[in-house]
């Protein structure tokens, strides 16, 4: 029998495995304590207690009140709700919504939908590293502005935006400020007061929790319409029977991330820098997309001249390594990543980019195998490329 190739996961920014400790905490809430937290009998009471415990853990991590945490089904739902809910409830005040050009598609496409409904959506540009300039953003704010939504850190290039500074500007102007923290939540300390945010999105499956659970933090007093109407769960703001095992898992995952954050952050940062330094030093014509500093501890995005991202991804894949690419060849529209384009990287160069994201279970040995394989794969593909000067 052919031996199964060992697999190496370098795509933690896409999703993470559920930590065994998280799974264990969840198990009790499927077939044993299966009550509906809205029921007032003892079954419901048990489930409700578990949900509230998770809410407490999450609120504690981001320094929010428990009543400011709303459970949702995904970061996509949270972002949809933040934008549509604020726009709908505040349309009498104005119609301008400001986002950045590197937001996740769930923000970009929600904003697009809002503009089709008559809202005035404007995009803040970013510099070549992906930074939103708070001063430039300030210029986009007019008296009609009701909401600013800028992601805390970018899913492709890992840049951490100056959220606190942008939040301060919004606060002074009395404008609601939302941040999508799906990538940074669990990886660094987050304090909604220090960040000056009114709304914050976070997701469970990016932090070793289950898929299908997320939160929207909504600061007390913020005027927002619900996205889902129904039985009035989540203090009448988000109807739906609560996903109890999922929520329990999200709470546990948050607790573990917070507890292990300092150590893990340092460990992953060292591995991240090892990958970046090795690639830039040993593989010629290689570039780092995004900044060297102010970057998530687990994100690496590299661009290799003369080759195409999908080919590289498949080469690595055949050697057991999973990375991600946003090269045009893997998208139905044949358009390269909007994030790289927004950073001013020409389309034709953006094609040769891959995202490598590490995590809790990435070891130094994995990184060594990855780097060795990466170097070989890039070399092999370059041998085929007509753009490679050496082939002329």
């Amino acid at each position: 029998m052919k031996k199964e190739q060992k697999r190496y996961y370098f795509d933690y920014a896409a999703t993470t495995p559920v930590d065994k400790r998280v799974l264990e905490a969840m198990m009790l809430y499927f077939s044993d304590n299966y009550g509906n937290p809205s029921s007032i009998h003892s079954f419901g009471e048990e489930a409700n207690e578990a949900v509230e415990k998770a809410r407490e853990l999450i609120a504690g991590y981001i320094a929010a009140l428990q009543t400011e945490i709303y459970f949702t089904s995904s970061a996509t739902e949270s972002n949809n709700w933040a934008l549509k809910g604020i726009a709908s409830a505040n349309k009498k005040k104005g119609n301008r919504v400001i986002i950045s050009s590197i937001e996740h598609h769930c923000v970009l496409n929600t904003a697009k939908w809002l503009s089709q409904k008559g809202f005035d959506v404007v995009e803040a540009k970013v510099n070549s590293e992906g930074f939103v300039d708070p001063k430039e953003l300030k210029k986009l704010i007019n008296p009609q502005t009701i909401l600013v939504s800028i992601m805390h850190s970018n899913n492709e290039i890992g840049i951490i935006e100056p959220i606190s500074e942008i939040g301060k500007i919004c606060k002074e102007k009395g404008i609601y400020f939302h941040t999508d923290a799906a990538q940074s939540y669990g990886k660094m300390p987050l304090d909604v007061n220090e960040l000056n945010v009114d709304l914050l999105t976070a997701s469970s499956h990016k932090i070793y929790g289950p898929k299908g659970v997320a939160i929207l933090y909504v600061r007390k007093g913020v005027v927002i319409d619900p996205l889902l109407h129904g039985g009035g769960q989540e203090r009448d703001k988000r109807s739906s029977t609560l996903n109890v095992p999922g929520i329990v898992g999200f709470g546990k995952a948050t607790e573990l991330c917070e507890r292990e954050m300092e150590k893990e952050g340092k460990r992953q940062t060292a591995l991240r820098d090892e990958i970046i330094d090795f690639a830039l030093k040993n593989i010629p014509n290689t570039h780092l997309n995004g900044p060297k500093d102010s970057r998530l501890c687990n994100n690496i995005n590299l661009r290799f001249d003369f080759i195409e991202g999908e080919s590289l991804l498949m080469y690595l894949d055949s050697r057991g390594i999973a990375v991600s690419t946003s090269s045009a060849c893997s998208s139905p529209k044949l358009e390269p990543s909007h994030v790289l384009i927004a950073c001013g990287i020409p389309k034709e160069a953006a094609h040769g980019s891959i995202r490598i994201s590490i995590g809790r279970f990435t070891t130094k040995k994995d990184v060594e195998y990855f780097l060795k394989t990466l170097e070989k794969s890039v070399k092999k593909l370059r041998e085929m490329s007509p753009l490679n000067a050496k082939n002329h």
């Binding site: 697999r7 001249d305 003369f306 080759i307 195409e308 999908e310 080919s311 498949m314 080469y315 894949d317 055949s318 057991g320 999973a322 090269s327 045009a328 060849c329 893997s330 139905p332 044949l334 390269p336 020409p346 389309k347 034709e348 160069a349 094609h351 041998e383 085929m384 490329s385 007509p386 753009l387 000067a389 082939n391 002329h392």
Partner: protein, 168 residues
């Protein structure tokens, strides 16, 4: 990981991708075809050496390719060289992109343009040979060449800076 391959590419495609045949630059080719679309991330160079068979007909004695592009771009380049090597130019010019797709047991819809690109690269290499050696070029091939030329010119203008930076 196996799922991606199975969903998107056939085993035949992956075989050509991992072990491409006739890959590399040719020294002193009789004809060269260069086609591509940088914005979509594909560039193909096709090189041919021409000989004659027992019947005195021009044949593709040797063929090589260089490709910058995705899995499908590399696989279609490799596949077309396999199909036409040793065959007459007449035969090679009859190869359609659907023939390449068939030999690869299919391509995902968004990758069909890669197989079109491969036939264009070959046709233009043959055109280059016929033109240089003063042989008869059919109207159809002439027209195809002009289209490739127009396209390449457009690309050159659009991506001159980038291509120059890559070649230096």
């Amino acid at each position: 990981m196996r799922r991606i391959i199975k969903n998107m590419y056939t085993e035949k495609v992956m075989k050509h991708f991992h072990n491409p045949v006739n890959m590399g630059k040719m020294v002193k080719p009789d004809g060269v075809g260069k086609v591509g679309n940088m914005a979509c991330g594909d560039m193909m160079y096709m090189y041919i050496k021409v000989g004659t068979n027992k019947q005195g007909k021009d044949i593709i004695k040797d063929i090589k390719f260089q490709t910058f592009g995705c899995v499908a771009a590399i696989a279609t380049s490799s596949a077309i060289t396999e199909i036409v090597k040793g065959k007459t130019l007449e035969y090679a010019l009859k190869i359609k992109h659907t023939d390449i797709m068939e030999s690869l047991q299919g391509l995902p819809p968004i990758k069909i343009h890669c197989s079109v690109l491969a036939t264009e690269a070959l046709e233009d290499a043959i055109y280059d040979y016929l033109h240089k050696s003063g042989k008869f070029v059919t109207k159809e091939l002439q027209k195809k060449h002009e289209e490739v030329l127009k396209h390449n010119q457009m690309l050159e203008e659009e991506y001159k800076e980038y291509i120059d930076s890559q070649l230096n």
